[in-house]
Symmetry: C2
Subunit: 92 residues, 2 copies
Amino acid sequence: MSQLETAMAILLKTFDKYSGAEGNKDTLSKAELKTMIEKELPSLLKASKNPEDCDKLMKALDHNGDSEVDFNEFIVLVSALTCACHNRCPKK
Amino acid sequence: MSQLETAMAILLKTFDKYSGAEGNKDTLSKAELKTMIEKELPSLLKASKNPEDCDKLMKALDHNGDSEVDFNEFIVLVSALTCACHNRCPKK
């Protein structure tokens, strides 16, 4: 498997790991999203310092208001974070 | 580093690996994009069978017509492919 295919597989695996915890296996509930951020993006949570930021993020991602985040919405988050990181540190 | 942070780092590293080959280091030229697809997504290239598909993809990604694909446009491609893969094989 190539580097890029590996990254894509990790994204799928990471989503499935948390979405499978409870309820609909194909979506992240609010609790699942919170666990995912706590476990996978601890530095993001640390940087925000405001406990309400996590709730804001959930509301921003949950377009239809059913308190569930699907894989497409999850990818939007990952893309935005990766782009932000790339802009912050464009050159080594 | 968490699984998700690892995937994000691989995406950045993969882009930089190919974008740094020639010209602007922050974008993929047509030649660099082609090399990236050949090396990183050989199964995609194999599945398409039509040699023109690669050119079509370049045109679709190259919004401003300067024959360069930036990191944001690269992420759009990766997101679309990962989502497509997820829909194709939603459950193990």
